[in-house]
Symmetry: C2
Subunit: 146 residues, 2 copies
């Protein structure tokens, strides 16, 4: 039975938020959700900040829209990353090795699940699974380049 | 002076192609081009293979189109990855540390360069730089999750 413990730590410049859910599978998924959700929200904020700086005026409407967009994008990409992190972790446990094939499997399953959940048709789901696998494999390769 | 040596090795199941250009910067860029180019070409091939299997017939026309698409996608994503790998390596050398900020800088510079090279307008270039940085940061985070 997983322990029901919650541990929180937040350190600014190192971007490290850790919440211990008492279960390694959940930990990985929550970690992925938080980290990638933060990145996606920051991206949405940076995009809107550019337009605000460019236009030169800040109205309340802008700010509200930006917040909504940050929440939406953060939640969406966080969920995708959480599903991916869980799937990759599962693939690693089942296969017993750590290599790029875990990333490929995890990415393909994530593409499949997310696309199905969005109610896309069969063709689109298969294509999204292929694209998900390719993106995850590419991301995995990129980290072992230098 | 960089040594002008060329070393080639290809091993199938492990996906490891190494070409020594005699210069670490070039090595990283070429490595990125080859690896991500292969992933993108495979993705294009898998996408077309799905439609061929679905339709149930193979004509010569299909095959030629697939090859062209593989070359186009492989070259495009390979170039993007090569630029990114070079930029990240450069950022690592200049900053002297290895962390997610190198990935962010590399991704942002790559988005900037690729978007400028494609002849997009100023707004689009800035947004592509922001997106490039976000994607690279996300890819970097994902690899340290499990």
């Amino acid at each position: 039975m997983p322990r029901r413990t919650f541990l929180g730590s937040l350190s600014g410049p190192k971007v490290d938020v850790a919440i211990d859910m008492g279960n390694p599978f959940l930990n990985v998924a929550v970690d992925g959700f938080l980290k990638i959700g933060t990145v996606a929200a920051t991206r949405a904020a940076a995009e809107d900040a550019y337009f605000i700086v460019k236009r030169g005026n800040i109205s309340r409407h802008n700010f509200e829209n930006t917040l909504k967009k940050m929440c939406r994008e953060g939640a969406y990409w966080g969920t995708v990353a959480g599903v991916y992190a869980g799937m990759e972790y599962g693939a690693e446990r089942i296969r017993g090795t750590r290599d790029w094939k875990n990333a490929m499997l995890g990415g393909a399953l994530t593409g499949l699940l997310v696309s199905s959940a969005c109610g896309h048709n069969k063709d689109r789901v298969v294509l999204d699974a292929i694209t998900g696998g390719a993106i995850a494999t590419a991301a995995d390769f990129l980290n072992y380049l230098a």
